[in-house]
Amino acid sequence: MSGRRPFLLFTLLAFGYAFLYLPIVTLIVYSFNESRLVTVWGGFSTRWYVELFRNEQMLSALWLSLRIAAMNASVAVVLGTLAALTLVRFRRFRGRTLFAGMVAAPLVMPEVILGLSGLLLFVTMEQLIGWPEGRGVTTITIAHITFSSAYVAVIAQSRLSQLDVSLEEAAMDLGARPWKVFLLITLPIISPALIAGWLLAFTLSMDDLVIASFVSGPGATTLPMVVYSSVRLGVSPQINALATLIVLVVSTGIVVAGWLLHRQERRRQENAARWLRAG
């Protein structure tokens, strides 16, 4: 590289970040606005936060979304890891192309198609075998698991393909059974990716409006559904307050997770260095 700093490039970079963050910053600023009008500054106030915490409908929707998201993330991590293992470790089996396609499809498939197809499946199943009875939490959770396990699979896949196979082979040579090798060697090594996958699956589920709207029934209203119906009526300062809280939680989570991963990585490198010195 030439020593000259590519000035133009960094200017464009700065503009890119301004574009990404300007809307979020204005949301946060106006959540503390006294005035109901989002565009007029009426002085600092936290009244919208107070109103948000008194909004029963919003709170119960939040609780429902949290439950669905946690359930979804836990199942999706298991399925996604298995899918990643299948794709990375088993190069040849019947129907591999179809399988790879099915894992890749939810990442890009328009949500309206996933939602509609999910709903039609549940309706057909109810007609044929009587399960699931009606639509609600169960159907939303199943639909969410289906698409978020694909995201987990992608994350786990990239970690698995970087993994040093000789570690597993060494364990195998020393007589460990495959299941034990997986639990003692593979799983600990890919665990950061699995934690990231769990968190991603959780947020995807918390965030989903379209699929949940299709596969939900009366009585199961998730947080995005409440937000959507309130946003359709126009700008509401309560949503600004909610957005600020979401940004706060997510950024805290990312900073903590990043710090933990960084620390773990450094400890691993130190261990490796100690091993090398000792050997």
């Binding site: 970079l13 890119g16 099915m102 197809s117 309706v123 957005a243 997510v250 989570g253």
Partner: protein, 322 residues
């Protein structure tokens, strides 16, 4: 004298290793392997593949005032003969009513333009991150990912406040004297483009960054040593080598953007009709499930080529990347 062509050289230890591993997988891993494959395979087949087939089936049915609101394809007639009734009328509607063709065309156009703008904004960002000092790179990358982790709906909502008639954008433009009367920015095609570019930018930046990071810096040094100017080096070295990232990023933006519902619904106006929105209203407002299914099938047909392309890139990436 006859010279035997030596067989392709394989180290004996490698062969032995492979043989042993084969034996091991035969004796121990068989059951485990089946379970590992079958679980996600079965789940995805049941909850992803079968539903697509059902969508196709119902697109051939007839809308009825019943629960569920469509006619069965197969039923028994009075003299106990099996009767199969396929309705192609739903597809005929798509073809004849201009609203559907317009919506498809508009969706493809909006998605294509937004993808291009995303590329123009995202490429310099990805390049800037890739060339930033090492300890900055992680932070910059996290800052691109962070908005993706916050609620999509709320990020779209943020633009409503900004683009309103008396919103921040208009206020700034008025204050600088660039315009005299507020522009009608919200509920326009412009707002839809902006919303899509804003929401999908991380999907463009991340694959671009990944390919740009793998780029060999010595190639650029060689070009510079041979008297190539930076701009030309970019065009002849960096850009062609980053094409896989460009294609992957573009597909990751284009495909979901075609079927986008939330953005045209909240930011678009009456003229910005997109197919995702048509499917939604066909289903929720008209309760015409068969037509909604036909719309979905037709959308999938449009997306088959880009999807297959993406699949091939992914496959090459996972198998060739090691």
């Amino acid at each position: 004298m006859k010279v035997d062509q030596p067989p392709r050289y394989r180290s004996p230890s490698l062969l032995r290793n492979r043989f042993e591993r084969g034996i091991k997988s035969l004796t121990q891993g068989r059951l485990g392997r089946t379970v590992v494959i079958a679980l996600p395979y079965g789940w995805l087949a049941l909850f992803l593949l079968v539903p697509f087939l059902i969508v196709f089936k119902i697109s051939l049915a007839e809308a009825m005032l019943a629960s569920p609101p469509f006619s069965p394809l197969v039923n028994w007639t009075e003299d106990m003969a099996l009767q199969l009734r396929l309705q192609l009328s739903n597809y005929a509607i798509l073809w004849q009513d201009p609203i559907y063709l317009d919506a498809y065309w508009n969706s493809l156009k909006v998605a294509a333009v937004s993808t291009l703008v995303c590329l123009l904004v995202g490429y310099p960002m990805a390049l800037g991150i890739a060339r930033a000092p090492g300890n900055w790179r992680m932070v910059l990358l996290l800052l691109v990912i962070l908005p993706f982790w916050t609620s999509f709906l709320i990020r779209v909502y943020a633009w409503i406040g900004l683009l309103q008639g008396n919103g921040l954008v208009n206020q700034v433009l008025l204050a600088f004297g660039l315009i005299d009367t507020p522009l009608a920015l919200l509920h326009s095609n412009f707002a839809v483009y902006l919303g899509i570019v804003y929401s999908y930018l991380p999907f463009m930046v991340l694959p671009l960054y990944a390919t740009l990071m793998r780029l060999d810096d010595t190639l650029l040094e060689a070009a510079a040593d041979l008297g190539c100017r930076p701009w030309k080096a970019f065009l002849t070295v960096t850009l062609p080598l980053s094409m896989p990232g460009v294609i992957a990023g573009s597909l990751l933006v284009f495909i979901p953007a075609v079927g986008e519902f939330v953005i045209p619904d909240l930011l678009g106006g009456p003229d910005s009709l997109m197919i995702g929105k048509v499917l939604w209203s066909e289903f929720f407002s008209n309760r015409d499930w068969p037509v909604a299914s036909a719309v979905a099938v037709a959308m999938l047909v449009f997306l088959v080529v880009p999807l297959a392309l993406l699949q091939r890139i992914e496959e090459r990436h996972t198998t060739g990347g090691r």
